[in-house]
């Protein structure tokens, strides 16, 4: 083995340079992505503390506090608007919808994952097809149905209807998680004397905890994001959620209370993002299971 035609130190230098370039590239890309993702939010974060006589001057440096920062807009937000009501409504709806989703999607997902059904494969496709019929298609007849049921202007209208959005995707997610649990465990429990339902409750559900958490987060998120049904069903302020309340209520005529508006957004977006960031790795593993085995 001869190296006589190769300049080894030069090779080493080139390799090191490539490595450094790679790291530089990674950092640059990371910074660029972070910047563009967060830019509107950063602007919102600054604006919410700016005094109006600073913010509404066209030629002022927008990124600098030319006047002292103020909490006035937050005060307005919390004390003079229904912001807290919106948050409360969103939480109530989210909780109720999550419970309903789990109650319906868990058994369905189990059946699809475990019980060998003749129509199992087709059911999976059917779930996907339901997903293709979005609220933006159904909202007009749905509004009439809600009105005829007398549920307009109520949180119940949302609680009743939101699971149509959450159940398909939750079933799909849970299916993936169920398939990840070996059948041996249930079979062992059944051999030990439990009925199938007993086996599920004792053995499978505890192991499904991460999957259930993922669904809880998803269901809550989807409920909090939902816009069109909320806008169509509930026009009165007391029953709005944050998704519809914030964009519509912080406007008087043509005047936008921008600082309070941006504050309203930041106070919701940041905590949610913190939670998601903390659980990101769990989500990925759940997603991989659904995609690979589903």
């Amino acid at each position: 083995m001869t190296w006589q035609d190769t300049d080894v130190p030069a090779l080493r230098r080139t390799a090191e340079r490539r490595r450094q370039l790679g790291r530089f590239g990674t950092y640059t890309a990371a910074i660029l992505f972070a910047f563009f993702a967060a830019f509107p939010f950063s602007w919102a974060l600054i604006s919410m503390f700016k005094q109006s006589n600073d913010l509404y001057v066209k030629d002022n440096n927008p990124f600098w506090f030319n006047e002292a920062p103020t909490l006035e807009h937050l005060r307005l937000l919390f004390l003079e608007t229904n912001y807290l009501t919106f948050i409360g409504n969103t939480l109530v709806v989210g909780l109720a919808v999550t419970l309903i989703t789990l109650a319906l999607a868990l058994p369905a997902a189990y059946a699809l994952a475990r019980l060998r059904l003749r129509w199992g494969e087709r059911m999976g496709i059917a779930i996907f097809l339901v997903y293709l019929i979005p609220p933006t298609l159904l909202f007009i007849p749905m509004t009439r149905v809600i009105t005829n049921l007398g549920l307009q202007e109520s949180l119940l209208s949302l609680i009743l209807v939101y699971p149509t959005i959450t159940i398909p995707i939750s079933s799909w997610l849970l299916m993936g998680f169920f398939k990840g649990i070996p059948m041996d465990l249930e079979e062992q429990a059944m051999v030990d004397g439990h009925s199938r339902i007993g086996a599920i409750g004792r053995v499978v559900l505890p192991l499904m905890f991460p999957g259930i958490v993922a669904v809880v987060v998803f269901a809550f998120t989807l409920s909090a994001h939902e816009f069109i049904y909320a806008l169509a069903f509930n026009k009165s302020s007391a029953v709005k959620t944050i998704a519809t309340g914030v964009p519509t209520e912080l406007v008087r005529g043509d005047v936008f209370f921008w600082q309070s508006l941006q504050g309203a957004v930041i106070l919701i977006a940041v905590p949610i993002a913190l939670v998601f960031n903390a659980f990101l790795d769990r989500f990925i593993s759940g997603f991989t299971m659904g995609a690979v085995k589903g």
Binding site: M1, W3, V8, A15
Partner: protein, 344 residues
């Protein structure tokens, strides 16, 4: 100058020491096996030689040149992985051509080389297939062809036979050995299977806990193990080990013979062997039991089928071992002790 040499090589993963100050020199054209249980550091060692892992300390020299800091592709090595790592979305031909494309070789020369490598392994008719359409043995050949096509100076293999069916394994092993002999390329082969190691290696480096416990020919490591670990890792069933007053001594099951059967009359040490259980395995008989004065230690004797002497269970029998076949080990450290230093 050795083709592959590592000096005082170590790798730490945080607190875990995977490879602990290993020194190794390979000889030209030899088939060197790194043998050990999982977690012993053999794969980490191989990966460092390949350049896939960076050492914490020590030197790696390929062809006399220090290669630390060089990426794998600059080291003139080729590697075959446990899963063969064939690119699933490419045809066999493109798999083999891939390293040549990376070198910037022109298409004409490339296809000639691919053809040459394919012929070397008899896989020309598979060139347009995809990996998922191939059997385990065929995949191994494609992996070898892809490795060889770059004409490397060192060949690194990471347990390539462990994913194959037991039946295929023997044939694949034969293939591998035949090709290595033909090409004469220096090869380092990682395995946990001591039968494989014994059958394939010119020399075996037996490893445990990141250290090389012994480096030697199969004959050396089997008949003159450097310590208790090597003694018991090689050989199936493992060496029988008994405690004496302040040392350990051992002998292999096939060396433990009934009185009168042993061919040579030389100096033999007698034992009273109480047999508890016998397994008839066709070509061999395994006798499980214990010897007098060492009631707690389980002893195994292995008799070939040619020895037809009837031996009854739950009875004492007179057995013996040739004195020069007994091996002695230090009680606390486990390393071997020459027989002369003990007064027996």
């Amino acid at each position: 100058m050795a083709v592959v040499e590592v000096r005082d090589l170590s790798k730490h993963f945080g607190d875990v020491v995977a490879v602990d100050g290993v020194d190794l020199r390979s000889e030209e054209g030899e088939f060197l096996v790194l043998l050990g249980p999982s977690g012993c550091g053999k794969t980490t060692l191989l990966r460092m030689i390949a350049g896939l892992e960076q050492p914490t300390e020590g030197e790696i020299l390929l062809g006399g040149e220090d290669v630390i800091g060089l990426p794998p592709r600059a080291r003139r090595i080729a590697m075959v992985f446990q899963s063969y790592a064939l690119y699933p979305h490419m045809t066999v031909a493109n798999n083999i051509a891939f390293p040549l494309k990376a070198q910037g070789m022109d298409p004409g020369e490339r296809s000639a080389k691919v053809q040459w490598a394919a012929e070397l392994f008899g896989i020309e008719r598979l060139l347009h297939r995809r990996p998922r359409q191939l059997s385990g043995g065929e995949r191994q050949r494609v992996a070898l062809a892809r490795a060889l096509v770059r004409e490397p100076t060192v060949f690194l293999l990471d347990e390539p036979l462990s994913n194959l069916d037991a039946k295929l394994r023997a044939a694949a092993r034969d293939d591998l050995m035949e090709f290595q002999r033909r090409i004469g390329i220096t090869t380092i082969y990682v395995t946990h299977d001591q039968v494989e190691a014994m059958g394939m290696g010119d020399r075996i480096a037996v490893m445990n806990h990141g250290k090389v416990r012994q480096l030697g020919t199969p004959e050396e490591v089997y008949h003159h193990p450097a310590d208790v670990f090597v003694a018991q890792f090689l050989g199936s069933p493992p060496m029988n080990l008994l405690e004496a007053t302040n040392f350990l001594f051992g002998f292999r099951p096939e060396q433990f013979l009934p009185e009168g059967i042993a061919e040579d009359e030389g100096d033999r040490v007698p034992f009273t062997f109480h047999v508890n259980r016998i397994e008839y395995l066709g070509s061999e008989r395994y006798l499980y039991g214990h010897v007098r004065e060492h009631d707690e230690t389980k002893i195994i004797a292995m008799l070939p089928a040619t020895v037809t002497l009837p031996l009854a269970v739950d009875q004492d029998h007179k057995f013996s071992v040739a004195r020069d076949q007994i091996r002695f080990f230090d009680r606390d450290q486990g390393h071997k002790i020459p027989a002369q230093t003990l007064n027996l």
